[in-house]
Amino acid sequence: MNAHQQFVSVRGVEKRYGEIIALRGVDLDVAEGEVVCIIGPSGCGKSTLLKTINWLERPDTGAIFINGEQIGETVDENGRKRARPESEINALRARVGMLFQNFNVWPNMTALENVVRPQMVVLRRSRDEAEEIARSLLDRVGLSDQIYQWPESLSGGQLQRVALARALVMEPIVMLLDEPTASLDPEMVGEVLAAFRSLVDDGMTMIIVTHELGFAKSVANRIIFMESGVIVEEGTPEMLRAPRTERLKQYLDLLLYS
Amino acid sequence: MNFDFSYTVDAMPWLLKGALVTAQVSLLCFVLSLALGTLLTIIRTLEISLINAIIALYVSFIRGTPVLIQIFLAYYGLPVIGIQLDAFTAGIVAVTLNSGAFTTEILRGGLKAVPNSQLEAANSLGLKRSIVWRKVVLPQVYLTSIPPLVNEFTLVVKATALLSVITVVELFRTAQQLFSSHYHVVEVLIGTAAIYFVFCFVFSRVSVVIEQRFAVRRP
């Protein structure tokens, strides 16, 4: 499949941190509107893979394409890699929304300001315009009563929804979710997953790293199982019921018994 | 820019002689300061309010005033109230008293880090107080305090440069004597700075190594 035809394309990406090899050559294609869930044991490279897609981590080898455009680097006529200018990388990151396991809501601003500031700084919108849009988004994720609250008085579920509004306000073309519910108390997982589900219904292209197999089964078009920096198995959610590889079988058994 | 660095090279033998004086003075002051700091730390545990207040005042005065002024007070000021000191002795007194205040605070922090259980265990074994201090507490205090103490030593080395102002012939004064004859100040000073740099830099690196070696031993 031609890399440029897919919405998100990862080709031969490798990444090592000193002695540790996080990614050993990963290929991944995601079509527009598709929802892909990545599962696997901790340390298998899922988060690293996600972070290479918006160039928060630079792969040692390989290339990443989003909507046909190679990000982070280009290859010139001589076949040599040249880094793309910071401004282009920043602009691209703005179109890719990311959610983190520990929310990373900015504590020095109110919930509203968290969603207003990126618009003003990156999109150069006026404060009034930014506030209007922010309010409607925070309303959409069910936080209209909390907009003037400071992050330290918000619950985990509320914080993740602020982070969601903050990501959505940049009008992303793809969303990367890195274990978004892993730090949440069980009662709050539901409200956050519901917010994600509504995104899926709106046709957003999403790549979600998660260990919520139930959620993955219900929203994913495709599930990818990774281990030790490679993709071991991928397929429809059916594969969770009937895993083909032994390693996926072992992983699923482990989850069942924990 | 017309600097003639042959002057730097020529100055080296003399500078190194001055460096020797700096090393001796620094070492002497540091050892005395450590003794003073240890003494004050022990006395502080007796919890006599008046004495602790005096110590606190001493520390506050030293930490709040410039070393240069302390040196002037020792050399020029003391004779007025009857204490005549020659330059060398006045310098030692000033730098020792200065460093002593900081050392006291460092050791106080180190003492806090010694678990109370250590003291209790030693006392419950019926050991004499002085033994408890010497064999149990102080070694741990010193061990914990190695990084800030080494840092304090480099501060002492740097402070000795100010003794040149009261005519003590250490490294900086030697440098001044040298360049006052041929006016190639920068060349001589670069050599001087290099010697101080090597001194201090080596010590701070050594401290890191010592810290790592001893860190392995601690449970």
């Binding site: 928060l56 910071e86 920043n90 602009a91 691209l92 990151r93 179109r95 929304g97 990311m98 983190f100 990373n104 900015w106 504590p107 020095n108 601003m109 109110t110 300001e113 207003v116 700084v121 990156v122 003037y148 609250q149 400071w150 330290e152 008085s153 982070a163 940049m170 | 600097f3 506050s60 005065f61 709040g64 005033t65 410039p66 240069l68 002024i69 002037f72 007070l73 020029y76 000021g77 003391l78 007025v80 109230i81 009857g82 740097k158 402070a159 100010l162 040149s164 900086f172 100040v185 920068v186 000073l189 670069i190 001087t192 700075a193 101080y196 740099f197 001194f199 201090c200 830099f201 701070s204």
Partner: protein
Amino acid sequence: MDLDFSILVEHREVLINGFKLTIFIVICSIFLGMVLGAILAIGRMSQRLYLRVPAVTIVEFIRNTPFIIQAFLFYHGLLALGGALPEVLVGILALALYSSAYYAEILRAGILAVPHGQSQSARAVGMSYFQSLRNVVFPQMWPIALPPMASQTMSLVKESSILSTITVWELTLSAQSVQGITFRPFELFFLIAILYWGTNESIAFGIRRLEKLLQKRQSRRVSKEASGRAEYVT
């Protein structure tokens, strides 16, 4: 023992002028030092070697040599290069550079103390490195960096006395000149010791008040009844 503190009153003008100059030099050096310190801190943390190596070299040189040597190098170096700057300016430059090395380390530690995820999420929405510093990292860094910054500033006040050795007419040199006339070193140096000490205590006091203010702000924010249009930002 024969002390005469009246000479302090008699020569107060010289001493007051010296004190005023010391304060002026300190304030200028604080601001210039912080700016230079920020530049050095960013250089220290840069991935680009051509920025990192000079920054590290400068910081290590300043921290491992006595300030009096640096002051002399500035003074005589400028003379040798043919420059004729007023000593006060030379003094401020030397003192600012000296403190910038220490400020840089404090800033660097402060920036590293802010959780990495904070700047990551800022970059993830498309902010540049500097935008993430300004909007997310620096505001979170200040409470952490304030105490060491304060103590470094108090050091700055004390080190300014060394500028007397390069003929800057600050407090110490002024006192020495009065000493030369009155031959009363004890009274004089005791007084200026008190003046330095008082200045530092004032700074310490000011910082304590500032910390209390920041803490009050913090607790106000946590209250669940955030009513109306509270301030958005720090």
